[in-house]
Amino acid sequence: MRTDDQPTGPSASAPYRFAEQHTPPAPVRVSEVAQTTFEHVYEVDPRLMEVHVLQQVFPNWDTLRIMRSRADHLAWMHTHFAEKVITGSEILAEIERESTPVPPPL
């Protein structure tokens, strides 16, 4: 996730309904050991959290809050270290432009 984006999902001021809050989106398996619920929210496969550490139930707003505050934290770090971030894709595009031969004038 780009640090200036925010994860999708209800905003912090949305009305609180218990059942709704405790029903995360249906999980989608993304690897042997992980699944997603909200976009960008990854979770350990619950089958791996059955013996020593049990998975906790978070209301949706809290899951999203954690994700959002992480994004805030990373954005803060960028501006703390430099006035501006240059993206790699801009640099790649510049290299591409420079390496494209300019057609001869007609």
Binding site: T3, V30, A34, Y42, L48, V51, V53, H73
Partner: protein
């Protein structure tokens, strides 16, 4: 050899880990009262237990053995000097402590006594905009300092992965390593000078020559390096003058994927050797690190299976220079078969590097179940050419441990450039440790593994630590081997500056300076 323990304040501090007797404690507190206010002398159990450990995993059932008798929180050099004088007269150990993030037990009071916590000395004393320096109390964090400096367009670029919570004095005590040191230098290059309280309580100004704001002098011995990286065994830095830079206009931090480790290693070397002025560092992630990240890190879980190694590079400077340098580094990466991982990962992961406390604090048993784990990091300084061989040998050591027990989990390795020319790398292996299960047997196995890890670095012409220090059980055993005759010089220096062995005793085998080898005691 027969050794007679000193009975009272004659000879050195006793080589004991027992708490002070009630009488001695009462006498100590009575002596401290005229020097410090009541709220600067902490005796509560919580205050003392919280300053008894550092983040590096250790057998927690032995926590109570290293709790200080008293914690003091001085606010000035004079107060620190007075406390140290009292300790020296009473032969009571003194341990300097700053952020307490050090990973080699430096701030752990192995012989109890007084912990001098310098966090209240966090003032900015002088900002010199003309000569570009700032003078601060050593209890300030780089993050808080930079928040203040940003208002002046300035920046103090000491950037460990503990950036928000390690403090200037701890950086001096460890002679720390910075993520962006390839552009700006490391703590030893950035600290110009400091006031320092010697183990006798005398105050010394340490710098190049006698200068406060001098970056290069040829006058006398170069004492600055001696009084950095000593892990608090030679005294306490109280006020430091630091070199400042313009706050960077731009940052670029591309991450690239490789389908094999060899190409990634070659690429890292080529990036570092390119001589790009804005190049602040490159990091190589090996296959084990990628495998580890695929378990739990949102950025890496979705990566295709042919991503086996990674390289990131970071540049800081004016926008036009960063763009020009960035193009050169992108071309080099492409020549080595790199695939750009995209802006999201590149920006997010770099921003997260300044604060590695965010490491997921769990690992896996061999059958894949999640377990709570603490993070440990063994580091060494290794030449570029030796990084692959050291990595292979270290993973074998870890694999051997893991075959025996689930207490340890190999979390992979990073190799970070230490210098702009790419000569040497901070090579680190991250290890998950199930601290609650770290019984004496598992601890002994770990200490042996640490010793083996250190020995591999030495066998490849490296040094056992690029940033944390080598004080902990295991690696400390090899310090005399690493330093050779230099270790005898360490003993001579220690004895002459700390005649009573009160300053952070029990570290770095320095008890040998007082005729006592405590290497195997309390293990």
């Amino acid at each position: 050899m027969t050794i007679t323990e000193p009975a009272g304040p004659i000879g050195t501090a006793p080589f004991t880990t027992e708490p002070l007797s009630d009488d001695r404690l009462t006498a100590l507190v009575r002596a401290l009262r005229p020097v410090l206010a009541d709220d600067q002398i902490l005796l509560a159990k919580t205050d003392r237990y919280n300053r008894a450990r550092v983040p590096a995993p250790f057998p927690v059932h032995r926590w109570a053995e290293r709790v200080p008798d008293v914690v003091v929180m001085p606010t000035s050099t004079e107060q620190v000097a007075a406390v140290v004088r009292i300790a020296n007269e009473m032969r009571i150990p003194v341990v300097p402590r700053d952020g307490g993030t050090g990973l080699t037990d430096g701030a752990v009071p192995h012989r109890r006594g007084i912990v001098v916590d310098v966090k209240k000395m966090n003032q900015i004393h002088e900002l010199d905009l003309v000569n570009r320096t700032v003078t601060v109390g050593t209890g300030i964090s780089m993050m808080k300092l930079n928040e203040r400096l940003a208002k002046h367009g300035l920046f103090y670029p000491d950037d460990p992965a503990s950036y928000p919570c390690s403090l200037v004095g701890g950086r001096i005590g460890t002679s720390g390593w910075s993520l962006i040191g390839s552009r700006y230098g490391h703590t030893r290059d950035l600290v110009l000078s400091f006031d320092h309280v010697l183990p006798t309580g005398d105050v010394l100004h340490v710098g190049d020559g006698i200068g406060r704001k001098i970056s290069k002098s040829s006058s006398g011995y170069s004492l600055k390096h001696l009084f950095m990286g000593h892990q608090g065994t030679l005294g306490i830095a109280t006020k430091a003058t630091l070199k400042l830079f313009p706050k960077p206009e731009a940052e670029l931090s591309p991450f690239w994927a490789f389908d094999n480790y060899e190409d990634a290693h070659a690429c890292t070397g080529a990036l570092a050797r390119a001589g790009v002025a804005t190049f602040a560092g490159a990091v190589l992630f090996d296959e084990h690190k990628v495998a580890y990240l695929r378990r739990d890190d949102e950025a890496y879980i979705p990566q295709p299976a042919d991503v086996r190694a990674l390289v990131c590079s970071v540049m800081y400077g004016y926008e036009d220079e960063v763009r020009a340098g960035g193009k050169r580094l992108f071309r080099i990466a492409k020549e080595h078969g790199a695939r750009y991982l995209g802006d999201e990962i590149s920006e997010g992961d770099w921003a997260a590097r300044h604060d590695r406390y965010a490491t997921p604090l769990h690992g896996r048993t061999k059958d894949g179940q999640v377990i709570p784990m603490s993070w440990h990091c063994e580091d060494a300084a290794v030449n570029f050419s030796a990084v692959p061989a050291v990595s292979r040998a270290w993973h074998e050591i870890l694999a051997d441990l893991r075959r025996k027990t689930d207490v340890f989990d190999d979390w992979g390795m990073f190799a970070y450039t230490s210098a702009a020319t790419g000569v040497d790398y901070l090579t680190e292996i991250d290890v998950g440790i199930w601290e609650q299960r770290l019984d004496d047997k598992a601890w002994a196995a770990w200490v042996k593994a640490k010793r083996d890890i250190g020995a591999v670095a030495l066998a490849h012409g490296g040094s056992m630590s690029a940033c944390h220090g080598s004080c902990r059980e295991g690696e400390v055993d090899l310090v005399p081997e690493e330093l050779g005759r230099g270790f005898d010089v360490m003993l001579d220096v220690k004895r002459s500056l700390d005649p009573n062995n009160i300053m952070n005793p029990g570290k770095y085998l320095l008890d040998r300076a007082y005729g006592r080898d405590t290497t195997d005691e309390n293990r």
